[in-house]
């Protein structure tokens, strides 16, 4: 489903690469935790796997096809249609309503907003986001915001779900909701990769990679 082969990446002006000659395969239907101390390049690796960065050398294969060296438009389309993302602090648009945030990717995937809104409301119900959908992110709690971000990531039922510290500042109840959602999504046949510092979250994953 997703494979990184001999991946090397270094930031411009950095004396050493963030990681070098890194190879891993992420199979469908599993959850993988990327763990390790801060500064080891976990988030950078996640953004590389999500085709937001291009590796210095090596390749990332999506569905068996090389993807990391494709042009920007192709990688953007892959991100929209094959990937789902949960960011560290939810990264919601504070100026838009909850339902607008959940359905944001419909525009990028070229699907009808009304259909997306229908599914989005169902996801909000499923994850217990009990706020009026016309409310804005600034008016909900951090836990609710992360659940909304999870709904946005799951809207397209992505084949690959990448999560960057999705439970960073959450209470235990919300953390459990998020972890269960990631595991449930993997159970549908998706590949789920989570960057986490939490031993509990890492333990809940099928596999753990220490960087």
């Amino acid at each position: 489903m997703l494979r990184a082969q001999n991946l090397t990446f270094g930031y411009p002006h950095a004396s050493e690469p963030a990681f070098a000659d890194w190879t891993a395969e992420f199979t469908a239907g599993t959850t993988t935790a990327l763990t390790g101390p801060s500064g080891r390049g976990k988030s950078t690796l996640l953004y590389l796997l999500g085709l937001m960065l291009r590796p210095t050398s090596g390749e990332i294969f999506v569905d068996g096809r090389p993807a990391s060296r494709s042009d920007d438009s192709t990688r953007a389309h892959l991100r929209a249609k094959r990937f789902g993302f949960v960011f560290q602090d939810a990264a919601l648009d504070p100026t838009r309503t909850v339902i607008d945030n959940v359905t944001e990717t419909a525009l990028y995937r070229g699907v009808s907003r009304s259909a997306a809104a229908h599914r989005g409301r169902a996801l909000l119900d499923r994850f217990g986001v009990e706020v009026p959908s016309n409310r804005k992110p600034g008016q909900v709690s951090g836990g609710q915001a992360q659940r909304i971000a999870l709904c946005r990531a799951l809207l397209s039922a992505p084949a690959i779900l990448l999560a960057d510290e999705p439970t960073g500042n959450l209470d235990p109840v919300t953390t459990a909701v998020v972890v269960d959602a990631l595991r449930d999504h993997a159970a549908t046949g998706a590949t789920v990769i989570v960057v986490t510092h939490s031993p509990d979250v890492a333990a809940a994953c099928d596999r753990r990679i220490e960087l």
Partner: protein, 372 residues
């Protein structure tokens, strides 16, 4: 992408642009205000000038800037078939020939006031006010209000008799155009079935453009085919046409300069506002890129947002400036000027938005989204 898919995407993009504009009321409001200010400035300065210019030009035009009149004495030999010959000359909008005037009186008041009656030749005499399908062609007459008054026919019912013994029923009132004011009080007897050999005393030609009066005048003179050219005189409005061109070019030059300065100022202001907006919302564009928005879509989104705000500003500005011009009693510049300014404003703001939009589209997700 199919046509239906493309349409769906355009609708979705426009909806998103509108929703984004609403979600950013300060930046959107300032952009709309800039556009309204620009429209008001242009409409109340250049628009007012253009309106005045059009009024001045219309005044000049009513004086007959496109008219040339050939006058021929009775024995000059000018005949009605000159109309056939000049039909091949380019730049002529309308032409008609008229016989020498013959005095006519109300048939029932033989000693009444005399008015000049003329036989009228030409295929488009409706410009004189004569109906296209005139009843009994050649046997009926049409008179101006001044002529009807003199003839004592206020109800446009009766007949006239000329000093040559011909009688015509007066069947209609006409309002002679400005360029035939010299024929007043006017009575015309349309002659749609003329043979061409009838003698005429006047040939009136209207050119398509004031600038064509000179060349058309030369061309008409060359095909008059008169027996005695010394008995023919021609009156043209070339001096008026030159005055018209002078007025038009001077006012147009002033207006153009003002519009360009205003447009440039608007473009700079919109670019600055959008750059500020993009800088404030770098994280927003980074997130959009991470979630799968292409660079092209980000650019299209910002340009559509700019277009939506501009059209809102143009609509409000146009209504406000029209009300202001009407309230101050100034002439309106006309819909074509308004449409041109609207299009120019749209092109300017979209052009100004291009650089900020490209800048927004290059935001790197990892740089904008990572939390330290």
């Amino acid at each position: 992408m199919t046509v239906a898919g493309f349409r769906l995407q355009v609708i979705a993009l426009t909806r998103e642009a509108w929703a984004t504009s609403i979600a950013q009321p300060v930046a959107s409001g300032v952009t709309v205000l800039v556009v309204i200010g620009m429209i008001l400035t242009v409409m109340l300065t250049s628009g007012r000038t253009i309106g005045a210019e059009q009024k001045v030009l219309a005044s000049i035009d009513t004086a007959g800037t496109r008219t040339l009149q050939v006058r021929a004495e009775a024995d000059a030999g000018l005949t009605a078939d000159v109309l056939t010959r000049i039909a091949h000359i380019h730049g002529i909008e309308w032409a008609a020939a008229f016989s020498a005037p013959v005095d006519a009186t109300n048939t029932v008041i033989p000693d009444g006031a005399r008015v000049p009656a003329r036989l009228a030749y030409g295929s488009h005499l409706e410009r004189l006010g004569v109906p296209r399908g005139s009843p009994l062609p050649g046997a009926v007459a049409y008179a101006s209000p001044a002529a009807l008054d003199l003839l004592g026919l206020p109800d446009v019912a009766g007949s006239i008799t000329t000093t040559t013994g011909s009688s015509y029923d007066v069947v209609g009132q006409i309002l002679p155009p400005e360029f035939l004011s010299g024929f007043e009080p006017a009575v015309f007897v349309p002659q749609p079935h003329a043979t061409g050999s009838e003698a005429v005393a006047a040939l009136v030609v209207i050119t398509e453009d004031p600038a064509l009066v000179g060349p058309v005048s030369d061309a008409v003179l060359s095909v008059l085919a008169v027996d005695d050219p010394t008995k023919v005189t021609i009156q043209t409005s070339e001096e008026l046409a030159q005055l018209r061109l002078l007025v038009q070019s001077q006012l147009a030059s002033f207006s153009r300069g003002l519009v360009l300065v205003t447009l440039a100022t608007t473009g700079v202001l919109v670019a600055v506002i959008l750059f500020g907006l993009v800088m404030m919302r770098r994280r927003d564009f980074g997130r959009r890129r991470a979630l799968g928005a292409t660079r092209g879509l980000i650019v299209a989104l910002l340009l559509t947002q700019t277009a939506v705000l501009t059209l809102t500003g143009v609509g409000v500005g146009m209504v406000a400036s029209t009300i202001a011009l009407i309230a101050s009693g100034d002439p309106l510049p006309g819909p074509s000027f308004g449409a041109a300014i609207s299009m120019l404003t749209l092109a300017t703001t979209i052009g100004a938005a291009l650089l900020p939009a490209v800048f927004a589209s290059t935001r790197e997700p990892i740089r904008e989204l990572r939390v330290a």
